[in-house]
């Protein structure tokens, strides 16, 4: 029961060190809040669940990648992903996500860094950038943000030392939750404006319970880099739904890349946990990310939020049983039941997309004109984005079981319609074909690191 829990979580701790807006190092915060700090460090641990968690794959450190372990490779688990992403960095390396402690290294050493030159904007979600942005902007957060975005990744990397840390979610004096990311502030402002609420600001207008989701939504969201200034933008101006985000990209004529085998102007969806959660019954019931991923626990006599952020299936008693009195085994089976159904249709949608890609490739090889292929290419763009949206989402359908299924059924419809269109010039798809410029994709830049 939420309101019940809200009542608590006042923290009577005595401060031994004073924390300021410049205190980056979580170890220092840990002096005041040892319980949270110790739990926070546990995010280095790895453990697998049926569809989530992460599996530690030991590796021999190399010069260009000192990591002693990585998590399993998703493109090896399902090679169809390489076909879907042909011509894009993700086809080179894409792994299961793991704990927060790894975020900075995993970003820095992914092979995706070697096939494309990445911007400083990447840093927003993989490092404790708040103080760095303040410094860059001379006290002006947004100015700092705008300076860091276009930097070469390697340069921006020098400005940060930690993965997400206390200061990214907390105001140091009161310890209340605080949004530190301009991209989220701007995204929410655009979203609320579309709903008729002007100049919305979470830091002054959001409820505490909302903040328990918003701090996560600074990163666990779909995004793109806008223009040459590589501004990090959350595409929410038309709404949080996948169809609305797609409409936003269509209107902007935006594409992430041109598909290598089909020539279609396609999009890459990324970790839309916040958008997906917002469509589910838990969000509707006011259940926030922190309720399940950072449930309260007893440490000593005190009740603290479990800062070992992880899969709730590794922590069912605290994460679920406060609201659901089913046994742990039963709750686990409910989640896996939802996920298994999701996964079977996800595979069905993947098969449909792959056959469309195969057909388009053949048609292109057969020398059919761009004009001729435009309809099928646009249907690939749609079918692929909707599939990638729920595939990139990390709960394997759990955050919104009905909505993710709905998106998959749309994806299947578009992919199959694309196949019909290729075989029948007279066929009229159920959606208007939108023209997206397909200027050839930029030639891959020479590796940064080697």
């Amino acid at each position: 029961n939420i309101s019940g829990r809200q009542a608590e979580a006042k923290n009577p701790t005595v401060r031994v060190v004073e924390l300021t807006d410049e205190t980056v190092d979580p170890a220092i915060w840990g002096k005041d809040f040892p319980a949270e700090y110790d739990l926070y460090r546990k995010t280095a641990e790895m453990g697998k669940t049926r569809f989530g968690g992460s599996e530690a794959m030991p590796r021999v450190p190399t010069l260009d990648d000192p990591r002693t372990s990585v998590s399993q490779s998703k493109i090896d688990e399902d090679p169809r992903l390489k076909v879907m992403w042909a011509g894009y960095a993700f086809a080179a390396d894409f792994r299961e996500d793991r704990g927060h402690a790894h975020m900075l290294d995993d970003q820095g050493f992914t092979k995706r860094q070697q096939v494309v030159k990445q911007p400083g904007a990447c840093m927003q979600c993989h490092a404790s950038v708040y103080p760095a942005m303040m410094k860059l902007g001379g006290g002006d957060l947004v100015k700092g943000f705008e300076k860091m975005n276009p930097m070469p990744y390697a340069e921006a990397r020098k400005l940060v030392d930690h993965p997400v840390a206390c200061i990214d979610c907390h105001e140091p004096r009161t310890m209340t939750l605080r949004i530190s990311r301009p991209a989220f502030l701007e995204g929410m402002r655009a979203l609320k404006a579309s709903q008729g609420v002007q100049s919305y600001d979470p830091n002054t207008m959001a409820t505490r319970q909302e903040m328990r989701a918003y701090v996560c939504a600074q990163c666990h969201v779909e995004y793109y880099f806008k223009g040459p200034e590589k501004r990090l933008v959350f595409p929410w101006a038309k709404g949080l739904g996948a169809d609305q985000i797609l409409a936003f990209y269509d209107e902007a004529g935006f594409k992430d890349w041109v598909h290598k085998e089909t020539g279609a102007p396609v999009l890459k969806a990324q970790h839309p946990e916040f958008e997906t959660w917002s469509q589910g019954v838990h969000a509707r019931s006011g259940v926030a990310c922190a309720d399940c991923h950072m449930p309260y626990m007893r440490v000593g006599g005190q009740k603290v939020s479990d800062h070992h952020v992880r899969s709730p299936l590794l922590n069912i008693n605290r994460a679920c049983q406060g609201c659901h009195k089913w046994e742990e085994k039963e709750l686990k089976e409910r989640v896996e039941g939802i996920q298994t159904k999701f996964y079977s249709v996800r595979n069905q949608a993947m098969d449909a997309l792959i056959s469309l890609i195969g057909d388009l490739k053949a048609a292109k090889a057969a020398g059919r004109s761009d004009k001729d292929l435009e309809g099928a290419r646009y249907l690939q763009r749609r079918g692929q984005f909707l599939l990638d949206f729920v595939e990139a989402e990390n709960s394997t359908g759990f955050h919104a079981p009905q909505e993710t299924m709905r998106l998959l059924s749309e994806s299947i419809d578009f992919s199959r319609q694309g196949q019909i269109a290729l075989r029948d010039p007279g066929f009229k798809p159920t959606v208007e074909v939108v023209a997206i410029a397909t200027t050839p994709a930029p030639a891959p830049v020479p590796p940064l690191v080697k």
Partner: protein
């Protein structure tokens, strides 16, 4: 429910527990647990982990009607004593060892006691329901008494 609580094995268990509860007694008293024996809800609220139930009980319709032990111990004196012994034992064990889940769950036997107490007060209202055979009140009246 009473029948099942007063079955022979249960009585034998109770006897041994009587002793056991005594052993657990030291830390239990230390933990203000002795107040467990009383029927005052405030006594239950001595423990932080009971507080949330206490708070929501006070704001619920049963506040005027039933104290904790009206629902959590059987009405008949003999059974009430037995269950208090059992609960006392579980409570002291839990508290001494500190080994209990962060989200407290009902033991089956405790649930049976509660179910029995619903009928103790509402028998007249539910007589026709009961005609159909075994039924759980809590299945539908989950948050009666207090929120979870």
């Amino acid at each position: 429910m009473l029948a099942h609580l007063l079955s022979l094995p249960a009585l034998a268990l109770a006897a041994s527990l009587g002793v056991a509860a005594g052993l657990g007694g030291y830390t239990f008293v230390f933990a203000k647990g002795s107040s467990y024996a009383s029927d005052a809800p405030a006594a239950c609220a001595n423990c932080h982990v009971m507080q949330s139930r206490y708070d929501s009980w006070r704001s619920g319709p049963h506040h005027a009607a039933a104290v904790c032990n009206d629902c959590h111990t059987p009405a008949s004196p003999a059974a009430k004593y037995l269950v208090k012994a059992l609960n006392g034992w579980h409570h002291s064990k839990a508290f001494t060892s500190g080994d209990y889940p962060d989200v407290i769950l009902m033991r089956e036997s405790s649930r049976a006691v509660v179910e029995g107490q619903c009928r103790h007060c509402h028998a007249d209202v539910v007589a026709s329901m009961e005609a159909g055979g075994a039924v759980s009140c809590v299945r539908c009246h989950d948050s009666v008494g207090h929120l979870r």
